[in-house]
Amino acid sequence: MIKKLVSALAVIGLIGGFFYFSAQRAGVNLDFMQLWPYRTRLLKGFLLTLQISVYSMILSLLLASIIVVLRRSRFLFFRQFARTYVEFIRGTPLLVQIIFFFYIIGTAYSISNRIVAGVIILSIFESAYISEILRGGLNSIESKQNEIAKSIGLTHVQTLKLIILPQLFIRVLPAIAGQFASVIKDSSLLSMIALIEMAQVTKEITANNFNTYFVSYITLALLYLTLTFPVSMLSNYLERRNRYEH
């Protein structure tokens, strides 16, 4: 335990030291106290990022589930629709999608609330990736499991509830958690549509006061880490706890 802690400190010290040394050489101003006056705005931005991320995780998981069901549908139309959706979303940059959805679709159907729009856009984007994770997970569960379930007299619904979903959940959870970390980071692009989340707050601060440029972005990075690190820890924990297959 102590060995682990000392080693962790050494790693952090080495990486931190390297950046600190580089910053000194480059003559970067590292006075973090300059940000003190902006603390409330930063906090507000942080909370908005958190809010958008949580909503987007839920909505994207929901959308992804629908996409997976469509991709496995009996009807060609639904399968093609889902496939096109996934290919289009995964094949274009989020930046372009934000502009496209917000300024064209959002205007056409008068979605004026930027938070709602932001959550929808981000969810659409992430759902394409999550649906692929879910699909891979489903394919990896042997089709034989269905036959075994059939042989012991389970109905379709029981098979899904007792056999398929529990295994799917365990298998895809680490990957989904990883994707959730992306949701948090990708939300920074929503500053494009003037959503005042923490990346936008940082932009505004540095626009007013160029001296704070580097400390602001270093702070931003640390703030994102405080959100993504717990997600990654949780993912590791779940992966270890549920590793019945090894």
Binding site: Q145, S151, I152, G153, L154, I170
Partner: protein
């Protein structure tokens, strides 16, 4: 137990496995033998209600099976089925694998289901493995747990699809000993197997199937001592040689 088939056919695109089969005979334990790819497993799956025949149907003890999805779900509740390998659910412990059908298909309480499972686990010396997941069990133990799961529901018939084909000889033996005991205690069973020794010692009827269909059905002793078909004679002598 009596088995009877009426115009039973099973055709795939390429292959006809069963062709208008009409037969009737009594057995308590039936071994199905024959070369690989001859349709033994398909026949067993049809009898287990896992796949629908192309036409016709069959009956055990004069109870005709209606080939309709809802009827088949009901029918399968009274049949125990054991697969070649990996027949357990990997996310459940041995005990949970056994009690799952008791609780969810037969709506027994957890206590009653556990009680039933404990009795069988003790009878077959697997009680200490009850909380292990399938990956923590040997192949032989996995198959024995799968067999316990199949007999825990007190089926009227136990179907086994080459239950030892993925096991080494020693582990096969522990599974076959268990099956022999079950057969002795009066469990009706149909087993697809490559173990001629087992067919000979533990079953009372033997059926031979190859690509052309069912070639021979006879009481075990007659089957091994005086097979009628040349194919069977050749098959037996080939296996006896090694």
């Amino acid at each position: 137990m009596n088995i009877r088939t009426k115009n039973l056919s099973m055709k795939f695109d390429e292959q006809t496995v069963l062709n208008n089969l009409n037969l009737s005979f009594d057995f308590s334990s039936l071994a199905i033998i024959g070369p690989s790819g001859g349709g033994k497993s398909t026949f067993l799956r049809v009898l287990g209600g896992l796949i629908k025949p192309t036409s016709g149907t069959f009956a055990f003890d004069q109870e005709w099976v209606t080939q309709d999805n809802n009827k088949l779900i009901e029918y399968r509740k009274h049949i125990g089925f054991v697969f070649q390998s990996n027949g357990l659910f990997p996310h459940l412990t041995a005990l949970e694998n056994i009690t799952l059908p008791l609780i969810h298909t037969f709506k027994l309480s957890k206590e009653v289901a556990n009680q039933k499972a404990f009795e069988l686990l003790k009878r077959f010396n697997l009680f200490h493995e009850k909380d292990k997941f399938p990956v923590q069990l040997s192949g032989g133990q996995q198959q024995r747990i799968a067999i316990i799961r199949a007999v825990a529901i007190e089926p009227k018939l136990l179907l086994l699809d080459e239950p030892t084909s993925a096991l080494d000889p020693e582990l096969s033996a522990e599974v076959l000993i268990m099956l022999k005991e079950l057969a002795k205690s009066g469990m009706n069973m149909i087993i697809v197997t490559h173990h001629l020794g087992f067919a000979r010692n533990a079953t009372d009827m033997v059926m031979y199937i190859d690509e052309q269909g069912i070639k021979e059905i006879a009481p075990t002793q007659v089957f091994f001592e005086s097979p009628k078909s040349d194919d069977v004679t050749r098959f037996l002598s080939k296996l006896m040689e090694f």
